[in-house]
Amino acid sequence: MRQIALYGKGGIGKSTTSANLSAAFAEKGLDVMQIGCDPKHDSTRMLMHGRWIPTVLEQMYERKDLEMDDVIFTGFGGVRCVEAGGPEPGIGCAGRGIIATFQLLEKMKALHGDVVVYDVLGDVVCGGFAMPMRDGYAQEVYLVTSGELMSLYAANNICKAIARLSQRSTARCRLGGVICNSKNMDNERELVAEFAKRIGSKMVEFVPRDKAVQAAEVNQMTVIEHAPTSPQADVYRRLAGTILANDDLRIPTALDLDELEKLARAYL
């Protein structure tokens, strides 16, 4: 079973990338599970045709004995969709909620299949958000970034987390590569490719900005489902293929802030 986690700055397009990746994996006939780790619980909506599925934590709050059917829902291509959810903003600990979700899924023996995609929220802000990387859950991390400095900054921070966690005896997580989700900036492809190289990795895909993405989302579908013959769908399929074939997993070396800023300036 491949366990893949997508990390990156909030709003960079991790959920869109994750959902399309899951759809592309499913198209290849793989048994896929996607787990949204964000309290916003919007990771799997496009796979579920716009349906907000009940979150694990909502269910845990309401009931004691949960069954698989209460928390796992089947979406496009048979992708098994889970949303961890979280507490109301401002109270409790969302990180602990993610941990509890994983523990429940493990207890249910639900973490199986060919690929599990963890769509992790925003930045790594606490141990709980790093949870998919810990204890053998996500073995491959893919950083989703654009050429914007703050996106690179977040990706760079996540490199620090990967490097730190990879030293743990129980952790097996490594960086699989960098996905550039384009914001249509000049020299963006080159900048992100260079960033990936500097941290000791590689850019695995350049995802161009395409109206097909917005069109699919308006229709509450993934691009793979909504526009299967579009070039953008092929980009996601290619990304899925690259990830499946990727065995080049590394411990990244984060850049220092000055170096990162200098790099971003060089490609302006």
Binding site: L57, M60, Y61, G86, P87, E88, G90, I91, G92, C93, A94, R96, G97, A100
Partner: protein, 353 residues
């Protein structure tokens, strides 16, 4: 590991328990009060085990009334304010005089607004909220100070009643606390002063509320200095920093308390004179130790060697490594009574070899 060799701050944080231990060692021993701990059950189990062991040492048989909110995984994830409210309901149902709410590190970490929960509870007027925050809030000492300060802030401001003093920070589970209290009471009587409030030792809520009537506050020792400073500042009254240590400590204590309570100089001088005579009488009982050579062991508590050497000098004793080995008291001997007890033990050691 020899913990006695650890620096003080490490000893406090690693060995003396977290703020919960300190806070509960005060809050649990106020008759008529109930302590609510907003924490996982394990925190209170651990703390109660420590308190229970100390209670056994001190022959205290009173079982403290502690209600724990019982934070679990669900509360950590979704917030624990509801379970604190439920615990407060249970506490209020006992109709106590006071409800102490003490918090552990868990609600602090997840950000429960415990102060708001307390203030909107129907029994809010009885609740004293003490945000101790477990290990995040420091050590047991900080917990003790937090409860004393929080409780004092609820005490109404009053006119000082002449001739009265209050004691601050006697440990509820301190060995020899009553003997030490008796010694302080004896010295204060020489100045015509009486103790009206022991804050907080065996006093019910109504008595504690008279704290503000004391002319001055006498601190047990430096451990509760932050609380004593806050109390002194609140009531604008002098604070005596510690119980008297040893023989000369009694004399200094009489002078300092006398001045703090505006006792006439001639009365203070008379009290000092009487005390010196009393000490001489006491030392006469140990005349058999005069000219004896003893070897003091290691100092277990700061200041005990100085107290011991002063007594030796008054008895014309000698100190040498080849002398009779004697033990120093574990805690600083309070007043002449503490010295007397130490000398009894020395005499036994010298006479029995």
């Amino acid at each position: 590991m020899n913990w006695k060799n650890l620096p003080g701050h490490i000893y406090e944080s690693r060995m003396a328990g977290c703020t919960l231990t300190g806070a509960l060692s005060v809050a649990c021993f106020i008759p008529g009060a109930v302590a609510v701990v907003h924490a996982p059950e394990g925190c209170v189990h651990q703390t109660f085990s420590m308190l229970h062991a100390m209670m056994n040492d001190c022959d205290v048989s009173q079982i403290p009334e502690i209600i724990v909110s019982g934070i679990g995984d669900r509360e950590v994830i979704f917030g624990g304010e509801d379970c604190l409210t439920a615990a407060l309901d249970r506490a209020a149902a006992l109709n106590p005089d006071l409800i102490f709410v003490v918090t552990s590190c868990v609600p602090e970490t997840i950000g429960d607004d415990c102060g708001a929960v307390c203030s909107r509870h129907p029994s809010a007027d009885k609740i004293i909220y003490v945000p101790t925050s477990g290990f995040l809030g420091g050590s047991a000492k900080d917990g003790e100070n937090a409860v004393l300060t929080a409780l004092a802030s609820c005490v109404p401001l009053s006119q000082a009643v002449p001739g009265t003093v209050a004691l601050i920070g006697e440990k509820n589970l301190e060995s020899e606390a009553d003997q030490n209290y008796a010694e302080v009471e004896r010295l204060l009587a020489r100045l015509g002063l009486r103790v009206t409030v022991r804050f907080c030792r065996g006093c019910d809520a109504a008595t504690l509320m008279h704290l503000g009537t004391a002319e001055c506050f006498i601190l047990r020792d430096d451990r509760c200095r932050p609380a004593a400073e806050a109390i002194g500042e609140r009531f604008k009254r002098p604070v005596i920093p510690e119980f008297p240590g040893g023989l000369s400590g009694c004399i200094d204590f009489l002078k300092n308390v006398g001045h703090a309570c505006s006792i006439p100089e001639e009365k203070i001088a008379s009290a000092v004179q009487d005390e010196l005579l009393y000490q001489d009488q006491m030392l006469k009982k140990f005349s058999g130790l005069t000219k004896k050579t003893i070897c003091l062991g290691a100092e277990p508590f700061a200041g005990t060697s100085a107290v011991a050497r002063e007594a030796m000098e008054r008895l014309s004793m000698q100190e040498s490594e080849s002398g009779f080995p004697v033990k120093l008291p574990f805690y600083l001997p309070v007043g002449a009574a503490g010295v007397e007890k130490m000398l009894y033990l020395w005499r036994r050691a010298v006479n029995n070899g």
